[in-house]
Amino acid sequence: MEEIFTGLLPYLLAGLGVTLAVTLIALSLGFVIGLGLAILRVYGGIFAARVIALYTLLIRALPHILMLLIMFFVIASIVNLSPFWAGSLSLAIISGAYQTEIFRGAIQSVGVGQMMAARTLGMTRTQAIFYIILPQALRLAIPGWSNEAAIIVKDSSLVYVLGVPEILRRAQYYSARTYEPFTAFIAVAAIYFVLTFLTNRGLSALERRLKIPGL
């Protein structure tokens, strides 16, 4: 029993850094991609809108494992990236598609009146987007984004298929050595549970901090 705390958990937690790194890279790159494409989609003209819609549709219609593998092999044929980076970048592209939809919805729910009012003051479209629309849209997007963040935390386990030494992979090594797979995988589940819990809590707190009455 104490083996769990002296042996298993430290061993698994040593892989926590990898899991968190994959998650953070995927979420932050996904954020840049998602926000950028959402702005282009809403304000960029019909051609851009259609292309971006196609991208988000395709990525959201395919299993994540499949996309990880496709992108891994495509990337591997072009440039020599480690499984860690291939996996993280692939997850970033996947998350980018979901985040595009989240931000698009948020931007559209800010309402066209805000843009009109900004323009009547003489602001350019760009000024209006950055100073008026985005500050409101980002706040509106927080609940949907927390949902996505929790999903990516869990999806980071998928890089297991690429052999990345994150906590699930470590648990598998441990169980191969000690013939205690149940213990190992339950421990992994517990770690993930704590991670998603903290993520949800953290983002709720952020939402409260940024709350503006009436927004």
Binding site: L58, I65, L66, F73, K154, V161, L168, P181, F185
Partner: protein
């Protein structure tokens, strides 16, 4: 191009067989998920302290951990206690439990959205709580949850792909086997992608049709889906 067509001739029958398994897994998981999830939702809203707590623990755990880990616990973990399940069964159980947790949340949202006003109206007509739940709340909750549930159907098709890690011969696994055999991972996986797109496209059309037919004007719900 020639090579790809030859590959397809060998690949298509295998991928088709895999598709059948994928659809089978999806259906069983959805059904199991419904049998688990719907009662869990009712228990959470109407069940009193203990049942509600149990329901919450179930949904929080299965939504708060990766489905891949859940699968590994059931397939690789249970043998630690001497309980070795065949891959298919492990897959059904894991996917079913996972889907049940998400479905519980969708149904809970729907039930709560409908609940208070409708319940008050029903009770003031003299209808008992049980009858109100069965005849007033539940019929509306189903309709309200339908869009979220359509999302779940599409999601489940995608989620079944994880059984590739325990060698259940679904579409994803077949693709892997083909790619190892013919050394062409990109073509194989892209072909599998086309299969998934077609499957999901068709399912989406069907679900949209069902949604449109059963929609009650003014009755809509906003829930966090996968």
């Amino acid at each position: 191009m020639e090579g790809y067509l030859n590959f397809l001739r060998a690949a298509i029958p295998a991928l088709n067989q895999g598709t059948v398994i994928t659809l089978e897994l999806t259906l069983v998981a959805l059904a199991a998920g419904f049998i688990l999830g719907f009662p869990a939702a009712v228990a959470r809203v109407y069940g009193g302290r203990l049942l509600a707590a149990l329901s919450t623990v179930y949904t929080e755990i299965f939504r708060g951990t990766p489905v891949l880990v859940q699968l590994f616990i059931i397939y690789y973990g249970l043998p630690q206690f001497g309980l070795t399940l065949p891959a298919y069964l492990a897959a059904f159980i894991a996917l079913g439990l996972n889907s049940g947790a998400y479905q519980a949340e969708y149904f809970r949202g729907a039930i709560q959205a409908i609940s208070s006003g409708q319940m008050m109206a029903a009770r003031s007509l003299g209808i008992s709580q049980l009858k109100a739940i069965l005849y007033i709340i539940i019929p509306q909750a189903f309709r309200l949850a339908l869009p979220a549930w359509s999302n779940e159907v599409v999601s489940m098709v995608k989620v079944t792909s994880i059984v590739y890690l325990i060698a259940v011969p679904d579409l994803m696994t077949r693709a892997k086997m083909l790619s190892s055999r013919y050394f062409n991972p990109i073509e194989t996986y892209l072909t599998a992608a086309v299969y998934y797109l077609v499957i999901i496209g068709l399912i989406t059309l069907v679900m949209n049709y069902i949604e449109r037919r059963s929609r009650i004007p003014g009755l809509e719900l906003e829930v966090d889906t996968r």
